[in-house]
Amino acid sequence: MEITAAEALVKCLEKEQVEVIFGYPGGAILPVYDAFFHSTIKHVLVRHEQGAVHAADGYARATGRVGVCVATSGPGATNLVTGIANAYMDSVPLVVFTGQVPTSQVGTDSFQEVDITGITMPITKHNYLVKDASQLPRIIKSAFHIASTGRPGPVLIDLPKDVAQTMIKFQYPRTVQLRGYKPNYKGHPNKIVEAARLITRAQRPVIYAGGGILNGGASEELLALAEAINAPVTNTFMGLSSFPGDHPLFLGMLGLHGTRAANLAVTNCDLLIALGARFDDRVTGKLAEFAPQAGVVHVDIDPAEIGKNVQVHVPIVGDVKLVLKELLARVEKRNDTSWLDQIQAWKEQYPLHYDPEGKLKPQYVIEKLNEITGGNAMVATDVGQHQMWVAQYYRFKRPGSLISSGGLGTMGFGLPAAMGAQVGMPEQQVVLVVGDGGFQMTMQELATVVEQELPLKMIIMNNHTLGMVRQLQQLYCDSRYMAVNFKFLPDFEVLAKAYGIKGYTLRTNEEVDKLLPEALAQPGAVLINCIVDADENVNPTVMAGKSISEAIDC
């Protein structure tokens, strides 16, 4: 029996056990939506395509599954672009479908036509323009495979309307055939032996663990290695939650807004064990002075990351979980504590600090949130100061429980991503922490939150300003505050009411103490508007071009 390619698409998604699609309809994607009509897969109608792709992204990060989103051609497709780039930078597995004008009109600047495969070439792991309907099942199978294996990433499939309507014989392929795509999982045995030798010999080792630990599901192995060799662990922003935030070996985050202990440890270590991290400029600061005395072991699934920014002594291309298992079998227990004593001294000398007196401080709110949730919530953030305070003050206990835009730093990511995470994890407590600026970028998705009856808790760190940029202007522009202070903001508590959800406005420590637990305990969605001190800065901070060992407070 023959079915339309659009119907085949839905069958493919069912075969891939897709449980939810985030999307927004339109003309060119009409046949696909008609096929959705007969499917049991849940479709979440967002309010803007950017919301769909960020939600699919948040869903993927929260569940570890491939996120799926759909949009129509032209403006629908271009509205996805930021979200696709975001997923690409953070290695999030997505399969993105876009409608396209009929093949006969492709290339003629027809109504709602854009070359979305051309536009997304540099921001997808791979993409397809489907010309032959019979190839669609093979393409979808490949797309899911490519998105979810190796270093994960987004894959886009552009489907012209006439192709979607073409009748095909449906058969879902069992295997994929991609001779140019063969990720390497098993680390080279000789390199692993060499790494084990370096680790055993090291006097001052530091483990520097990134998002690869979470993508590779290797948190347990990370903990085992750290404890086996008694090495302190620092996380990149993307790696946060891969190591218990309250563990004595934990240094906190490193880099631009990292803890001084983490940055000093890296600067003084003699062996840097980089696991699923990519020596991003926000981590390294001035490259020449990053871990200057250290030998470097670098484990990553993406060979192109190894040796890209720093010279590596022992490169290991492979799945970090498999490699760590091999390493664990070979390393010897280190008992020397002088390095750990030094680390402890730094931790005590340079704790993160702020003054909780006076106006309500954002750090105080995060500390309370941590206390109330016991570090067990799934925390989504937007981008800005509040994001860094979450990174510094929330002590993540569960791997994968931070949902945030790291590589691209996409304002507007927070709310839709939190929504996607909550869709994927309906039983899990999901808390969004968002700035008043970023919230206004995608707050249309409040309607989706309500429509989907999601019990999302949303905390707005309302400082009436684009805090992170204001901080930069203070530091680099002699406090000439240009285009950062909002002269008008909506009353977010009233806004919540407009959407029929409970709203709170908290202004003091006492109000936070009293009402934050109550707000978080509500059964449904809640918007918590925290009026916080605009003068608070993210500290420590490293000035542009400086070494991470020269952090300052501002």
């Binding site: 495969t117 051309g118 792991k125 791979h126 010309k131 001779r179 060979p303 192109a304």
Partner: protein, 169 residues
């Protein structure tokens, strides 16, 4: 240093754009690029001449490998190889100058592919050095038009960089 890469790619639409886009957005310089199909109709071969030190070359190779449509990459410069390029040059030539030009053509084993009242068009194949020398020797006559195919290269001897070679590995 200059490297000559033989890049075997799936003969899919857009593959040239993927490769070219990668070079431009990562700031690698392509000296020349030649594409054509191979003995296998599903596979095209790109010969890319790229300038850069070992680090750049390593990144270029690794980034190319990340493209799903790229099947295999070989740096032929690291082995014994032959390379060729074809050039067509149109020079001004009055009938009285034709003899001289034909002599030059003879020396370089070039061929005359078109003859006009005031011009002559020559074709020549060879490696970089030969093509450059050929161009130089014609310059004084006034080069009206010049087009080069870009280099193609192949390993010497029985060694080959085909796709079958990869699958048997």
């Amino acid at each position: 240093m200059r490297h000559t890469l033989a890049v075997m790619v799936e003969n899919n639409p857009g593959v040239l754009a993927r490769v070219a886009g990668l070079f431009s957005r990562r700031g690698y310089n392509i000296d020349s690029l030649a594409v054509g199909r191979t003995e296998n109709p599903e596979v095209s071969r790109m010969t890319i001449v790229v300038e850069g030190d070992q680090r750049v070359l390593e990144q270029v190779t690794k980034q190319l490998h990340k493209l799903v449509d790229v099947i295999k990459i070989s740096d032929v410069t690291t082995e014994r190889y032959v390379d060729r390029e074809l050039v067509m040059i149109k020079v001004s030539a009055t009938p009285s100058q034709r003899g001289e030009i034909m002599q030059i053509a003879d020396i370089f084993r070039a061929r005359i592919v078109d003859l006009g009242a005031k011009s002559i068009t020559l074709e020549c194949t060879g490696n970089d050095g030969k093509i450059n020398a050929f161009e130089e020797s014609l310059r004084s006559y006034g080069i009206k038009e010049l087009v080069r195919t870009g280099k193609i290269a192949m390993l010497r001897g029985i060694r080959y960089t085909g796709v079958q070679a990869q699958e048997s590995e």
